[in-house]
Symmetry: C2
């Protein structure tokens, strides 16, 4: 069994494709005003979403999105064997308080903004390993909670440099299933922590780009494919600066990233009209972009094969204040429209 599943040092192939039975996206008003606004399941009236703190609001996004994903799959919460989720808040409390009333066995994840890729990877392996029929995966973030925690309180009105990205407010989630209809996960390329010495907390794209390059080169070498094999290759939240760095670094590795290469942080906001500088970011960026825009294309058949590659910057304000670098990680998942 081992030899069949392992393709290379970072890549495994599932013995049976795992179905992405449903997806859900619940986002804040700014995301609703962006180019993908019409594709989200729910856009809230304001970012507090009826709560009295940004953190409690994030948990409410988690609760609603996970419930909706389960509803849309036609299953019930007690059909779910495991929840695998995470977020950016200290001690991942966005997730804890979001899921605590579900009473489902839970594995908490921390992959920074790569969490959606991590949760899909582990969820698919638990199903293919015979441990689960249905796994609920997801990731959340909140612009206001993240700014307060990682950078400056919003009320300060601190100016943001052009290299900064805008944390997406919302939660994207999915029900992965052993059986059923929908696009499928077929392969997983797991990232390593990559540290190229970037220390600029206002340029996360540069910090994460080498981690994306690590997974992309491993994936292409281990599968023998070229970037053109995929209809879409979508990184998580590199933004304009990080995407350009990946193109340049991949060229040095001998791979030409073509028109099929994009970044969820570029897709989710309108750079010209939304003042989001280098693009969207946060755990929710790749999660909600996949759970709306890309999932729809997979269902429609306008995408046949996709390499989904959420990216994460593994830092904290404490480590940055102590002069440490910002290591990155990325988690690659191959998703295919099932045509049978």
């Amino acid at each position: 069994m081992m030899k069949e599943k392992r393709i290379g040092a970072q890549t495994v192939k599932l013995s049976e494709p795992v179905v992405i039975a449903s997806v859900s996206s619940v986002v804040g008003p700014k995301e609703g005003e962006g180019p993908l606004g019409g594709l989200f399941d729910k856009v809230t009236e304001d970012a507090l979403h009826g709560e009295d703190s940004w953190e409690k609001a994030e948990s409410k996004f988690v609760t609603e999105s996970l419930q909706l994903a389960v509803e849309k799959s036609g299953k019930k919460m007690n059909d779910i064997n495991y929840i695998l989720c995470g977020d950016l808040l200290n001690q991942c409390t966005g997730t804890t308080f979001g899921i605590k009333d579900f009473k489902v066995p839970y594995f908490g994840l921390f992959g920074a903004c790569s969490t959606m890729g991590e949760s899909m990877s582990l969820g698919a392996m638990l199903i293919d390993g015979g441990f689960a029929e249905n796994v609920l995966v997801g990731a959340s973030s909140h612009f206001c909670a993240a700014e307060k925690q990682f950078r400056f309180p919003l009320a300060l009105g601190t100016q943001r440099p052009p290299s900064a990205t805008w944390t997406v407010t919302g939660d994207g989630s999915a029900v992965l299933s052993k059986k059923g209809k929908g696009p499928v996960i077929t392969e997983i390329t797991t990232g390593k922590v990559i540290d190229m010495g970037v220390t600029d907390t206002m340029n996360m794209g540069a910090a994460m780009a080498p981690a994306a390059v690590n997974v992309l080169t491993a994936h292409f070498k281990e599968t023998g494919r070229q970037p053109s094999y995929y209809d879409v290759i979508a990184t998580g939240d590199l933004g304009y600066i990080g995407k350009q760095l990946v193109i340049e670094l991949m060229a040095k590795e001998g791979y030409e990233m073509g028109e099929n290469f994009t970044d969820c942080g570029i897709e989710i906001f309108d750079k010209e009209n939304q003042d989001t500088h280098s693009g969207g970011s946060g755990c929710a960026c790749s999660a909600v972009t996949f759970a709306s825009y890309f999932y729809k294309k997979l269902i429609e058949g306008s995408i046949g094969r996709m390499l989904f590659l959420p990216t994460g910057a593994l830092m904290s304000p404490t480590t940055s204040q102590q002069g440490s670098t910002i290591p990155g990680i990325a988690h690659g998942v191959v998703i295919e429209a099932r045509t049978e």
Copy 2:
């Protein structure tokens, strides 16, 4: 395959036992002075361990312990398919900076102080699912970093109430393998987030006890066993108060927890002479206690069957300051001395 592996809603049985090929424990001086002092692989001279911050020290404990676990297994770092680790620091940076030079595919976990149970659970399932031959698992914490982050800076000299526990400084880790010699993991009972409304951040034992009870009752019901089936049942870091609560709550559920029931937070410190109040706590508490005291007993054969149950309090200073409760979680792993 599914029906064979799933025993109940929270419990799965591996198709083949997964070997705990080696363990490693690197701890600070206070842990070295405790009753298990002679059993740890390394006791550092001081808690800063040659670094200039508590956070950097924690990462150094991680690095040394994981390297040592791999060495003791007779394998090399590039024999490891995945690292599954986590810690308590904001954004799990203790782990990130501890493993970043290893260049091994990494899944970051957040289970608060239950992380060792979570990492052993997922690691064993990845191996049994055919995705890995060897997985490196572990968890770390640091008293000084935790006090600063969760409670008060040490320099304030704030008095600690009798219900408070003492965060263990160190890292405990293990190499899980498909083949080889050593004690084995046979079953996994995964916890749910349980919130009984406790809000006292100085009484983590009370906050976590209901989560331990959830896993214990699920495990006994789903396997048809009684607590007496095990030579040892060891929760992670409930301490004296939390352990007593588990005994009382389990009695209400109809289960008598006997002399075989203990808690790693009780084993690791000498309550009378080390001023540790309700006991030890932190991710490292269960990790290093297992990786020294219990592993030795399993190897010697003085323990045949063990239910290892690391426990975690899922809170942050932010959520507590906002008046939120402290939900708990626990992750159960059945470990057996292999006698063949």
